[in-house]
């Protein structure tokens, strides 16, 4: 029987010899939570970061545009209307129509919804996977840690756009499958990050104390290590959403994005780009602007969060 099994057997008797109050109070006193996540801390941070506030506001605008906008500006995004193709901006179509007759403004909202959904889902998936992986590696140490981290190094050595391209060229991508693929190849950075964080946390007094009290490894990871690494994790999620949106746009631009007629910003830009010599500017700049503003907003917010919550390893 290993030491690990002993300790997890002990924890089934709640708190053993230590009185429960002492347990939580002592741990709370020892646990610094300085880099942990709390909504109030985030608000406090943002107050001192005009750029972060700008990012957050921009992001709210983008979400409002994509999710509430269609309620105000109803458009048909399923049937092509070739009679109305490539109209310049004018009454009824504030941003004109594209070469299939879709209203550009409505298509921007639809495309944005898909991009944001994929970005969020991919980031959540990647973060969950990466956090658990990194926490296990960091806590295990030794050979297992070395092995797990070499796996991460190896996968990080191949540009993950290649993998995503290969997979999405082969399978007709929808929003969920694309998020899973992107998330499935972008958990590596969060794994590295969380491992680094766990390595510094595991020698802190409150973790040692918890260990001495016989907390199981699972409980240690879930109640002490991950909550205290949450700051770093949240900063990284914000960056990951931005990265995922860029990847979706790149895939769409290269022609390996979502199946037509589902809109996404990248493929919208690609179809506009073919008409660049025809001067259809409304097919290029509005959608380009949407991508830049969304990614910029996320990056600004992430940078502001990083200043107090933690760092992002590159």
């Amino acid at each position: 029987m290993t030491a690990h099994q002993v300790s997890s057997a002990e924890v089934t008797e709640p708190h053993g010899a230590v009185p429960p109050e002492a347990d939580s109070a002592e741990l709370a006193a020892l646990s610094p939570r300085r880099r942990g996540f709390s909504p109030r801390a985030v608000l406090r941070t943002l107050r001192h970061h005009p750029l972060g506030v700008a990012g957050a506001l921009l992001l709210i605008l983008v979400f409002g545009f994509c999710f509430l906008g269609p309620l105000l500006h109803r458009t048909d995004q399923t049937d092509v209307g070739l009679l109305n193709a490539a109209l310049p901006p004018g009454p009824g179509h504030p941003l004109g129509t594209d070469t299939n007759g879709f209203d550009v403004l409505g298509r921007l909202m639809a495309g944005g919804r898909v991009s944001l959904q994929i970005g969020l889902l991919a980031a959540l998936f990647a973060t969950t996977l990466g956090t658990l992986y990194g926490a296990v590696a960091g806590l295990a140490g030794g050979l297992l840690d070395g092995f797990l981290m070499r796996v991460v190094d190896t996968l990080l050595s191949v540009p993950f756009l290649f993998f995503v391209l290969i997979l999405s060229a082969r399978f007709h991508a929808n929003a969920v499958s694309l998020s899973l693929v992107i998330g499935g190849f972008s958990w590596l950075v969060s794994a590295r990050l969380v491992r680094g964080e766990v390595l510094t946390l595991r020698v802190r007094e409150y973790v040692l104390a918890a260990r001495v009290m016989g907390t199981s490894r699972r409980r240690l990871i879930l109640t002490h290590l991950i909550p205290n690494a949450l700051g770093v994790i949240i900063v990284n999620i914000t960056f990951q959403v931005a990265d995922a949106i860029l990847v979706v746009a790149s895939l769409g631009f290269l022609g390996f994005g979502l199946t037509y007629p589902t809109a996404d910003w990248g493929s919208q830009l690609a179809s506009g780009a073919t008409y660049i010599s025809a001067d259809y500017w409304w097919l290029i700049y509005p959608v380009g602007g949407c991508i830049v503003v969304t990614v910029l907003a996320l990056n600004l917010l992430a940078d502001a969060l990083r200043d107090t919550l933690g760092r992002r390893a590159d």
Binding site: T154, P159, L254, L269, I276, I291
Partner: protein
């Protein structure tokens, strides 16, 4: 030093082996069987099975992987399904053109970013620094294809200075010696990297400016220009060396998009075409080369930092 290099080499070999396995199994997991790809959808099932048996594609995947590794050790990257050419030769035709494009882009990026970053650090929080940081933020959020499109719209449509596409010639010599056609792809690549490089250079220069040796140099009365070029530059560039090494995957992916946008006949375009035709040996070889470059880039970056700053040995 020798021990360090040996250990790093060993780790690199293991990583390379892992990359080859990951890519090989992934590709075979998602691909049709090769007979189907080569003979087309209308070929009979028997013909496909015959083809696969003849070329050994019916063996267990692990056996195929080991024999692929054997081939690799002999420098044989296999044969393209669709172009019926040796993959090594095929890549060789395009590699030079991609390398010139990337290196020119990287060089231009460094030429802009290094002085800019140092200047930003020296003039910290002044107008120039703030402005450059703001531009970097926006550029960082701009995908390279959008930037390329804007450059095309401005410098090819509005002002007809440069062509929007790379030279159509099959000869590398013609492609590479057409500076007007090279200009926009190189500028696109460079500008997207400047945003990252200059911000790193800025923070690393800021770090160095607070160090004692700078204070000593100033106390000695050295002219500020000399302090910056002789003392600061060398030390402040270290993080950038590492960054350029670790950024290779990103740079390669950027290359892919830029090559596709400008129709530039390089490895990235070959990859995309092979992807459309399910030409897996080419995809496999290209992804492997990407992995090798990354590992080599990290390796060289570590050695370069090591050579530039001998103190690292003491802390190891």
């Amino acid at each position: 030093m020798t021990w360090y290099v040996l250990r790093r080499t060993a780790i690199s070999c293991v990583v390379l082996l892992g990359i080859s396995a990951a890519v090989f199994f992934l590709l075979h997991l998602v691909s049709d069987d090769p007979g189907r790809v080569v003979l087309g959808q209308r070929a009979s099932q028997d013909a496909v099975a015959d083809f696969n048996r003849e070329h050994g594609f019916d063996r267990p995947l692990v056996v195929q992987y080991v024999s692929y590794l054997g081939q690799l050790l002999h420098g044989d990257l296999g044969r393209s399904y669709k172009l019926n050419e040796n993959v090594g030769a095929l890549l060789g035709q395009n590699a030079g053109r991609s390398a010139v494009l990337s290196l020119a882009g990287l060089l231009l990026a460094l030429l802009i970013a290094v002085p800019l970053g140092i200047l930003q650090a020296v003039r910290r929080n002044r107008l120039l620094d703030r402005g450059a940081t703001a531009v970097a933020y926006v550029l960082y959020a701009t995908p390279s294809f959008l930037l390329g499109l804007i450059l095309i719209a401005v410098f090819s449509q509005f002002l007809p200075w440069f062509p929007a596409e790379a030279s159509r010639s099959h000869s590398s010599w013609v492609v590479l010696t057409d500076p007007r056609a090279m200009a926009l792809p190189v500028i696109t690549l460079a500008v997207t990297s400047v945003a990252i490089f200059s911000q790193y250079q800025r923070s690393s220069a800021l770090d160095q400016l607070g160090q004692d040796y700078i204070r000593v140099a100033r106390a000695k009365g050295l002219p500020e220009r000399l302090i910056l070029t002789r003392h600061l530059l060398r030390n402040a560039c270290l993080p950038l060396i590492t960054l350029a090494g670790t950024l290779i995957p990103t740079l390669l992916a950027g290359n892919l998009i830029v090559e596709s946008l400008f129709n530039y006949p390089g490895l990235g375009l070959l990859f995309l075409n092979s992807l459309q035709h399910e030409d897996y040996p080419v995809l496999l070889a290209y992804t492997l080369i990407g992995g090798v470059l990354t590992v080599a880039g990290n390796f060289v970056a570590d050695l370069a930092v090591f050579a530039a700053d001998r103190r690292i040995e003491l802390s190891k």
